[in-house]
């Protein structure tokens, strides 16, 4: 029985870890240690948590389900389609979506049990299949939004003004899965299968039926997660839940569930989930780089498991795991969780008192003598994107000139849900101004409104949110302007007629789809002899754009121009043209001048369209400082923006200017 203690030991270690996280972030993250933030953490964890709950019994059987994230995408699309296009009542649409989840889970179950596929492979297949169907159904573009408020309440509302509305759903599922795994005959069978599938079969357990149950339930739960996700973001797109499967698996394994099956508990999963979610939230509230989350999570994961294994070796007595040892270990867990919860609530009162004091200092910096030192938070769409990296330089320059504290953070990949989380963290932290390059307007507007309600100035840049969700939009160029400039360039390069193809970023990228819309409109209106032959995705990968361009040139030998509208796609396409040796195909598009310089100079890329990204970042910070200090307010028609000089204000838009067209003649003047 020694290892029972060890397991409790590893649970204790996890609780210790969570408490340590809380302790550290309570110091580093302003307002981290508050009741409101505690509930926010709960909200953030729900979708991921549902997947982790569903995966726990799956992994306990010794299987795995990689398709849950894709399932969310498919369900989101199905839901949106039923509601908007088929005009189903929202409840019926939701019910049908849950059925779709069941069906998807059943597909996994059938191929695994009837056709004997290994779960890893089968769900790897459905991982692509579900996402692929979602993209195919929506052509990648469609974006369902404007759901009724009563539905959005599920993801955005508060019960009694404080408890996130999705929390009860999560609790319900938590209780359900706990009963299933720890208190039901199914759970007992699942555990026996995980330890010894043959042994279970020889005991007369219907192994295939039990396996089918967990995979089907997993699909169903993913559907529930997807509904909450849609309600949370206010929009349904085929990219919902991208990458969630890996994080959910991480949570389950971190919680002590053995990947080979048999051992595992819902308690452990909840603890693993908490450790991850608290870590992510804490890092954001503390304005630590987002990349740290992944690095620390993986380090913790390996450390926990390695320690567990070493303990195994130290005490190689077989273990009496079981559902039912509620007794000591789980009581300890329970009481510790309650203790931690009450600590947070109790502590929050103290922070509340602190924060209502006039002139509270969010970063803890000493008040400046003459002017106040503002904390300005700026979020790119995705942190690693070279375009936004080049914006950051200008932003930092401005912050330095202004003597402001700049927080530059955001998700590492395009993900509206994560943008939400970062904004939430900033609200909790308490900053003066938030500026966001919005991945998805309906998905982010709610939380931006919340920020405004808390007295934070909200600006958007690069791409706008819904107008009432922000104070100002720093407009580098309208989608219309970009689309028209690109169409004009295409017309100029092609000499007024001929075929051209577009290589876009991801098929689901809202920005690019918007530009394509205006490109098409402009061509119809002004250049009827230009012919757009096809649109191919590049997934924002230079190499993928390269091979797409190669293929396009062969399939469409008369094509005269490739228009690449994702920053890495332009050099990719240009390199393909260069390597083909073709002189009759040109490249243009939207990209960074530095990336494209060799190709522009070689005359392969005739031109590259973009605004001055450094200036954009600079202007964003300038404008948000002024908004924070109140000099940028309704009625102002222009501002003095440092080295940019006088910038006009058009209503609630701060306009940077027209896009630049970089050509061989001028590209050397720009360095970004």
């Amino acid at each position: 029985m020694r290892l029972v203690e060890n397991r409790a030991g590893s649970e204790r270690a996890l609780i210790g870890l969570i408490l340590l996280e809380i302790a550290i972030f309570a110091v580093t993250g302003p307002n981290f240690f508050s009741a409101a933030n505690a509930f926010e953490v709960v909200r953030l964890g729900v979708e991921l948590g549902l997947l982790a709950l569903a995966l726990t019994p799956v992994i306990v059987t010794g299987g795995i389900d990689l398709s849950v994230g894709s399932m969310m995408g498919l369900c989101a699309v199905v839901f949106g389609y039923l509601w908007r296009d088929l005009h189903f009542p929202i409840a019926v649409a939701a019910a049908c979506t849950l059925l779709a989840g069941l069906a998807g889970g059943a597909l996994n179950a059938i191929v695994i049990t009837r056709f004997g596929g290994a779960p890893l492979i089968v769900t790897l297949g459905t991982y692509s299949l579900f996402r692929g169907i979602a993209e195919g159904l929506t052509r990648g573009v469609d974006n369902f939004s404007q759901f009724p408020a009563s539905f959005l309440y599920l993801g955005q509302g508060y019960l009694g003004g404080i408890l996130p509305a999705q929390a009860p759903v999560f609790l319900l599922f938590g209780a359900f899965y706990w009963l299933l795994l720890h208190r039901s005959i199914y759970g007992r069978a699942i555990r026996a299968i995980g330890f010894a599938a043959e042994g279970a079969r020889w005991a007369g357990i219907p192994v295939n039926r039990r396996l089918a149950l967990v995979y089907t339930l997993s699909g169903f739960t993913a559907a529930v997660a997807s509904l909450i996700y849609v309600a949370h973001l206010g929009q349904a797109r085929s990219d919902a839940g991208t990458g969630y499967e890996l994080l959910a698996i991480t949570a389950v394994v971190l919680g002590g569930t053995e990947i080979m099956g048999g051992r595992g508990s819902i308690w452990g999963t909840l603890l693993g989930l908490s450790a991850i979610v608290v870590l992510q939230n804490g890092l954001r509230v503390s304005a630590f780089p987002a990349e740290l989350a992944g690095i620390l999570t993986s380090a913790i994961l390996v450390a926990t498991i390695a320690i567990g294994k070493l303990q195994w070796r130290a005490a190689p007595v077989s273990e009496g795991i079981e559902e039912d040892e509620m007794k000591n270990s789980q009581l300890a867990v329970l009481s510790a969780v309650i203790l931690a919860g009450s600590l947070i609530v109790a502590g929050s009162n103290w922070w509340l008192v602190q924060s209502v004091r006039p002139g509270s200092m969010p970063t803890g910096a000493a008040p400046a003598t003459a002017t106040k030192r503002y904390t300005l938070a700026v979020m790119p769409k995705a942190k690693g994107d070279p375009y936004f990296v080049s914006c950051r330089a200008g932003a930092e320059e401005a912050a330095k000139q202004l003597g402001a504290d700049l927080i530059w953070d955001g998700p590492t990949d395009l993900d509206p849900a994560k943008q939400n989380e970062v904004v939430e963290a900033w609200i909790t932290r308490g900053v003066e101004a938030i500026s966001v390059a919005v991945v998805n307007a309906p998905g982010l507007s709610t939380v931006l409104r919340k920020a405004r309600a808390k007295g934070i100035k909200v600006l958007t840049w690069d791409a706008d949110a819904e107008p009432d969700a922000r104070d100002y939009f720093v407009n580098q160029a309208t989608p219309e302007g970009i689309g028209e400039t690109l169409a004009d360039e295409a017309n100029r390069i092609m000499g007024g007629e001929g075929d051209f193809a577009i290589i876009t970023g991801a098929l689901t990228a809202a920005n690019q789809n918007e530009w394509i819309k205006f490109i098409k409109a402009r061509i119809v209106a002004k250049y009827p002899r230009l012919n757009l032959i096809t649109i191919r995705p590049s997934d924002d990968d230079r190499n993928r754009a390269f091979s797409e361009a190669q293929t396009l040139m062969k399939v469409y030998p008369k094509m005269k121009l490739i228009m690449a509208i994702s920053a890495p796609a332009v050099p990719g396409a240009a390199e393909a043209v260069k390597q083909s040796g073709r002189k009759d195909v040109k490249v243009t598009g939207l990209s960074l001048p530095n990336m494209c310089k060799p190709y522009v100079k070689a005359g392969i890329a005739e031109s590259v369209v973009l605004w001055n990204t450094g200036n954009l970042g600079y202007l964003v910070v300038q404008a948000s400082e002024m908004a924070a200090e109140g000099t940028l307010k309704p009625g102002v028609t222009s501002i003095e923006a440092g080295r940019l000089g006088r910038i006009g204000i058009d209503g609630s838009q701060v306009v940077l200017g027209k896009p630049l067209v970089f050509t061989r003649a001028n590209i050397d003047q720009y360095d970004f």
Binding site: M1, S184, R191, A200, W202, A203
Partner: protein, 494 residues
């Protein structure tokens, strides 16, 4: 000087002392047999000799050199080869490769000569007169064929000590003769052979000396020529045979299980017809691979039959899956206890109730208290020695694990209980208790099918004995007619 010598070997597994100060020696050119009941420690001893398991105390010497840090690989290089009961093959590789991987010398960067590999394999297989294609995938071989590959493998190296654990259990007479020929040649070359067998009668043909192990202790070493089978059995059991089998005569009732013309190609059984009556113990004898376990698995729904009828108490039933069998009142305590009989990591409590989950639940939810009560009562009834019902099943000794496995199936309140090798690998005391339980169950009116490879057990416990060979029943005889000779006659290939 002795070729191989083991002195004062001690080995513990958890709480069980598997070997107690065991000593053993082997001279060059001799065949030294080790006999003992299942669980006497024979397998552990040979695993220590080959380095597959490390002894807790004691020394093993080869040519007077102490073997330190012994490993299977090292002992192999020194010329100690072993054939275990469970073939250690690579199921996805060819026969030739299975033989070569163990025998060919040299490092990982050595090039493989496939021609030579095949030729060597062919040669070795021919030498034992086995008709196995070297190119076949080992996983597709039958158990006896795999055993033959193991023998070929062991002969491939430059063997000085060859350890054979039940090599003839699944061999035909022809193959056995070939094997004895090979053994004779090896001893002429000066190799020593450690020979473990349950077929006591063949020892006089092959062995020079016989060492008897009982309960992990060396009981005696005798010249083979000087002992008869009866003496050996007495030494092995530590008492007279009759005392070992507490068979009680109970009234035999109506037929419960009736099987008629059962066929199953997947299981390899043909034309099976027999019946078992309430209170009766029907023993199934035969060689390993004769189809007895396959028959049991077919009756239990693991390999559904293609044709033939099964009826319980006169009622025809169809069995497609284990649930059907359980519903019909058939329970099956399987042969491979660790893989099928129990789920080792689950506690005793969960193991004992795994087949009756529905009965300890209200709706889908388990009634924990009811389960505990039930499990406690079984532990008490069968006298399972455990730290408590929450102890993991694999922390128990083999005999107690077996009792848990039996408890699981008695709990289903079956009408027919199939016991497959019920006392394999458990100690004498536990064995007697298992037999007592069987008698109690028969007395309670169960029809019992007992599959056993131990002739003494078959003869001692059965009311009638059915013998199988090659997937068919070759004869059924009553308790009074069945003798060791008659059973062997029907079991061995003509």
């Amino acid at each position: 000087m002795n070729l191989l010598e083991a002195r004062g070997i001690e080995k513990r597994y958890g709480g069980v002392r598997a070997l107690k100060h065991v000593s053993f020696d082997l001279r060059a050119g001799e065949v030294h047999a080790i006999v003992g009941e299942n669980g006497a420690g024979k397998s552990t001893l040979i695993r220590i000799l080959t380095g597959a398991v490390q002894a807790d105390a004691g020394t093993v010497t080869l040519d007077g050199q102490t073997l330190l840090h012994n490993s299977p690989h090292r002992s192999r290089q020194l010329g100690i080869a072993a054939i275990y009961q469970q073939p250690a093959i690579f199921p996805d590789l060819t026969v030739a490769e299975n033989i070569a991987l163990v025998n060919e010398p040299g490092g990982l960067l050595r090039r493989i000569d496939w021609q030579a590999r095949r030729a060597t394999a062919k040669e070795l297989l021919d030498a034992i007169g086995a008709d196995i294609e070297p190119e076949r995938i080992a996983g597709t071989l039958s158990m006896p064929e795999q055993q033959i590959v193991e023998i070929a493998k062991a002969l491939g190296g430059n063997v000085r000590v060859l350890i054979l654990d039940e090599p003839t259990a699944s061999l035909t007479e022809r193959e056995t003769k070939k094997l004895f020929g090979i053994i004779a040649r090896l001893r002429e070359r000066g190799a020593g052979i450690v020979y473990i067998s349950h077929r006591l009668e063949e020892l006089s043909r092959i062995a020079d000396r016989i060492t008897v192990l009982r309960d992990g202790e060396t009981i005696d070493t005798r010249q083979a020529a000087e002992v008869d089978v009866r003496t050996l059995i007495r030494l092995m059991a530590g008492r007279d045979l009759s005392a070992v089998f507490p068979k009680r005569e109970v009234p035999i009732g109506e037929p419960v299980l009736r099987v008629n013309g059962l066929h199953c190609a997947e299981a390899g059984i043909r034309n099976i017809t027999f019946e078992v009556r309430a209170g009766e113990i029907l023993g199934f004898a035969g060689l390993v691979g004769a189809g007895r376990t396959q028959l049991a698995e077919t009756l239990f729904g693991l390999t559904p039959p293609e044709s033939g009828t099964i009826s319980i108490a006169g009622q025809a039933i169809e069995i497609r899956k284990p649930e059907d069998a359980i519903r019909a009142g058939i329970a099956y305590v399987p042969e491979d206890r660790r893989r099928h009989g129990i789920v080792g990591e689950l506690p005793v409590r969960a193991n004992s109730t795994l087949a009756i989950l529905n009965r300890i639940a209200s709706g889908p939810l388990l009634q924990m208290a009811a389960e505990r009560t039930l499990a406690e009562s079984w532990v008490a009834k069968l006298g399972v020695k455990t730290d408590g019902i929450d102890a993991p099943a694999n922390s128990l000794s083999g005999g107690n694990q077996q009792k848990v496995a039996i408890a699981r199936w008695i709990a289903t309140e079956p009408r027919v209980l199939i016991l497959d090798e019920p006392t394999q690998g458990i100690d004498v005391g536990a064995k007697a208790e298992c037999h007592r339980i069987m008698c109690d169950l028969a007395e309670a009116g169960l029809a019992i099918v007992m599959i056993s490879s131990e002739l003494a057990e078959i003869l001692g416990m059965s009311d009638r004995v059915a013998v199988m060979r090659g997937g068919e029943i070759t004869g059924i005889s009553g308790r009074s007619e069945a003798t060791a000779e008659s059973i062997l006659g029907m079991a061995l290939p003509a």
